[in-house]
């Protein structure tokens, strides 16, 4: 191979080829759900730490709406967590019921998934990284589910959407509890458990939707 510069004619031919390159190439898949999840994680990490941070959790939706979560007493938080746990079970049962009757999935999965946000500034970076990883996985699964939504009847979609919303509400409750008491191993464990159940739900919903489309 030689390192000599191109001749004028070669240079012209190369410029012609360059001019034919497309300015835009769409990605093979929609990257927005994953970007949205990362933005949410980043926003939670950069929230200012204040004396109230261990008492009040903040939820910021990437949909643009900022909401301050209510203050909870420890007792009230445990009561809500118990409710959230029950809700997760209900969601799981509903999916099982759908699978057994041959139904499936959710159109609003990605939107629901995107409302979740991890942690607070006081939560360890390792925990935040774990939650961010869950968020990315959930976003990918939700995006895959969204693509398959056309295969499902509206009633099935509505059932799955409700179930996912329930899971997300449970997850949100768990995160708020952890934000209020970041040192609590129990709260962190519950958040991780909720994420795992959400991922499991999304995987199973994808499986069911794929079967419906086969």
């Amino acid at each position: 191979m030689t390192d000599t510069e191109l001749t004028p004619d070669e240079r012209r031919r190369l410029d012609e080829r360059i001019s034919e390159l497309p300015e835009s190439v769409e990605p093979a898949r929609d990257l927005w759900p994953a970007i949205r999840a990362r933005i949410e994680s980043a926003r939670m990490r950069t929230l200012p730490v204040s004396p109230d941070a261990t008492r009040t959790s903040a939820t910021t939706s990437v949909g643009g709406t900022r909401t301050q979560s209510p203050r909870h007493s420890r007792t009230a938080q445990w009561a809500r967590l118990a409710t959230a746990a029950a809700a997760l079970v209900v969601a799981s049962v509903s999916l099982t019921w759908l699978a057994l009757r041959g139904g499936s999935r959710d159109d609003g999965a990605s939107a629901v998934a995107a409302t979740t946000t991890p942690g607070s500034p006081a939560i360890t970076s390792a925990a935040l990284a774990t939650f961010a990883s869950y968020e990315r996985s959930a976003a990918d699964l939700a995006a895959a589910l969204e693509k398959r939504s056309a295969r499902l009847d509206p009633k099935t979609q509505a059932v799955l959407e409700r179930s996912l919303r329930t899971i997300d509400e449970a997850l949100q409750e768990a995160r708020e509890a952890l934000a209020a008491d970041p040192s609590s191993a129990a709260y962190r464990s519950f958040v991780e458990s909720a994420y795992r159940q959400k991922l499991d739900f999304l995987r199973r919903a994808n499986d069911v939707a794929a079967l419906r489309g086969a």
Partner: protein, 188 residues
Amino acid sequence: MLRSVTRPSDPAGPAALADIRAAQAGDAAAFERLYRANVGRVNALALRLTADSQRAEDLVQDAFVRAWEKLGTFRGESSFPTWMHRLTVNAFLLAHRSEQRRGAREETRGELPDSPTTGSVDALGAEGRMDLEQAIARLPDGARTAFVLHELQGYSHEEIAAFSGVAAATVRAQLHRARRRLMEMLER
């Protein structure tokens, strides 16, 4: 300094400007519209820089996350697509330097390998003739970066040298070799 044919044109009309302002105020729906309007151009650049579809996806994500984080610094002195391209290049070089520090990749600063740098690119078109995208993907990392940044993005030798942490003379040498190798592949 920016002269390339693939340099982004500026489609920013009133709607785009409104979205930029709204996104700067924290409106993620507006930012999603900016993403939809610009992702194709950013992805094209990412694919050419990385020559790997998976790494390109990661780079696109990194660029838009950084854009969200830095939106407050966007003053409109350049167009939004141009600003996004700059962020994408910065994110690529940052990741590249990080990989080099970790020793995860072999830097091919001098000799051009005979084999493609990635297995993810179909080397030949249906007629057995390589197109420029595929030929760029077959360049070694240093030559590809220099070619994409100079020939397609319009950065000067000195700018690329500053970005990459190498001498401007090295950039020129990489460019010469890249052009020569591209012509060989295209007209083989």
